[in-house]
Symmetry: C2
Subunit: 395 residues, 2 copies
């Protein structure tokens, strides 16, 4: 579109300009009790979470899957779109969508979660997208294994990292950039890493990376590069901005944009269980109302590390727990669903009173969800147990 190309041209022209801190300030932690800023509110209005009642759907309906866009969503023209595969390869490729669609494909059902999910529940709070618990969704993705594209291009000796570049362009903490993330060669050659061109059987929606995006099952959202335009094989380790930003740091030193990476890189999704808030809500408080008696509580649980093996429900904010019943684990024949969340159910005999419901997940790697996840300065991976306030009304 002219619109888009004009805007891209404009941004390229300014590519070398330094930007004042008033435009793009360093990361900062809100002061204790400091209010949600208008900037955080702007992000919350743009980016949206999964309305928790939609946890009832195995596949998140289009438009309800969580969405986090760092810059603007680029509107790409599929007739002119090309995907470059170059760098440390025998024969660089420059393929169009029909060529991509003609290659061997596979379909996987994958639960995505934003690495910043839960950020606004940390105290103090990193100023960024203020997620509570809802930055999650599950979809089926169809595409070409990245490994097929790398084989076709012929990876040369000495290759270390595979850098994926999106068309989304902006500035972040003073650094102008196209969105970029890398995988090391071993991860990039995993048969389940896809260059996807379909979501739930249809072409990718604009906001999910049309016409093609990366899908790295089990990893947090920052790895799922949207609006993919380039794949470059590097003979050295990639040290891009998003790799320095998406790290678990437990001390305040070292600005995210700094040259010296520190902390632990975020990769796979920590275990989490969420429940469908039972009964009906109050519009403003979202407090739930249920009638006394048996209440079916159900939800979903997932982990990027290993299959979920146990889910427990609490109705008292984490003091006591009862085991939930898990839907059968996908068998070998359902290998395409092993990255999808797992349904769980429990029956709660509710008497008059006030309750705080939550659930916690455990996976086959032994990871257990904490009632309160440890703080980190970026506000990442906060899988602290959900707190759903429920009032049970006597007749």
């Amino acid at each position: 579109m002219t619109e888009t190309s004009e805007r891209v041209a404009g941004s390229n022209a300014a590519a070398d300009a330094g930007l004042p801190a008033a435009v793009s300030a360093p990361a900062r932690i809100a002061d204790p009790g400091e209010q949600i800023s208008v900037e955080e509110l702007q992000l919350a209005a743009r980016n949206h979470g999964l309305p928790l009642e939609a946890l009832a759907c195995d596949i998140t309906p289009p438009g309800l899957h969580y969405l986090l866009t760092h810059y603007d969503m680029p509107i790409l023209d599929e007739s002119t779109w090309r995907l470059r595969i170059d760098g440390t390869v025998e024969s660089p490729l420059n393929i169009d969508l029909s060529e991509l669609r003609a290659m061997p494909q596979r379909t996987l059902t994958v639960t995505f979660e934003c690495a910043g999910n839960g950020r606004a529940r940390y105290e103090p709070r990193a100023q960024s997208q203020p997620w509570l618990v809802e930055a999650v969704g599950t979809a089926t993705w169809t595409g070409v294994p990245l490994a097929r594209l790398l084989e076709k291009a012929g990876v040369r000796d000495g290759a270390l990292d595979v850098v994926c570049t999106g068309a989304d362009h902006g500035v972040e903490r003073g650094v102008e950039q196209d969105y970029q993330r890398a995988l090391d060669l071993a991860d990039a050659l995993d048969e389940d890493v896809l260059v996807a061109y379909e979501m739930n059987g249809s072409p990718l929606p604009l906001q999910h990376g049309f016409p093609a995006r990366l899908v790295v099952p089990g990893w947090y959202g920052m790895a799922q590069v949207k609006w993919l335009t380039g794949i470059e094989v590097l003979a050295e380790q990639f040290d891009g901005f998003q790799h320095r930003a998406y790290r678990l740091r437990h001390w305040a030193e070292g600005a995210d944009g700094g040259a010296e990476p520190d902390g632990v890189a975020l990769t796979r999704i920590e275990p989490r269980a969420l429940l469908i808030p039972p009964g009906y809500p109050d519009f403003y408080s979202r407090t739930r109302v249920v009638a006394p008696g048996e209440v079916e509580v159900s939800g979903r649980a997932w982990s990027g590390w290993a299959p979920v093996t146990r889910v427990q429900l609490t109705t008292d904010g984490g003091s006591t727990w009862i085991d939930a019943e898990l839907d059968p684990e996908p068998g070998e024949q359902a290998g395409s669903e092993r990255y999808a969340w797992r349904r769980w159910r429990a029956t709660w005999l509710a008497g008059p009173g006030e309750y705080h419901l939550g659930a916690r997940a455990q996976d086959a790697s032994g990871r257990v969800q904490a009632v309160e996840a440890p703080w980190n300065r970026g506000g990442f991976a906060n899988n602290s147990v959900q707190r759903v306030r429920v009032v049970c009304q006597d007749r």
Copy 2:
């Protein structure tokens, strides 16, 4: 679905229970400087706005149209769904989706906007969904004119109001309810008021009211009843909760839930123009960066009262204005698009410096968008001019 029917059963059982203010408090205005509450943040994470770059699309792509759900989205089963038309009619109807689809249909392209759009920009702020400027979207809706259904049922003498009931159930300011809004008989018989079952040529998405919803072109979102289950013709004036809540009040007396309606009922959409933020954004501040030179600024403008006749652009926060060029108005042959937003464009010669861009719309009824809309206690109809901070960088 069992899930849903259980929840509905549960809520009906509690229908007569009184609810403590701790569950569902009266409306309140935030104190001066009072921070965004966790309740407002929860609403912002559930309900989402149009990412402003999507203003480039004539029809808002699925999933990017604004969304405001008062309670939970009910998951209805189209095989058991029925629509009742009863009350002051000759022969009550109870029709299924295939019967609805067999009736005379029409398709209209309509711009929707939430009556609460702009609420968080008022000072002081009503505590509710904290929209800034983005609660808008445009879609094509296909359905049966409500007039055809009312003719089929045969409206009896003395009919005054037509009450539409949705399946979404909750409590709001202490009042338990299914979502309900009424139109007076004259408005209900307008040929352009539809019971819609398709959005952009596909069945309604869950979040937009599957399987059928009301579409009242030109009116704010509160009139667009989703998950429609009943249409009742009344011989008296309807005085439901949502009619008492959606009113312009300029004084603090009279709780929204009070028995005595006051203020002015919200009906049609006030004129508004929005621009696509030019250049590229900073992730956190959303401040825009452009290169010096000619910058194409474009956007959309709409009014529920009359066609948009003029749009002006400001780059200095409203002190000075230049006229924008409007796309041709839809002619008679394009009557189906007369409720859709109108595209506008202006060229801005940008020099190094900092700017605040905004646009204002005027319509054929003479209504002009104010730079600062007058305050009202519900935080409604705030069409104050957008403020997009842009920094133009010299080389």
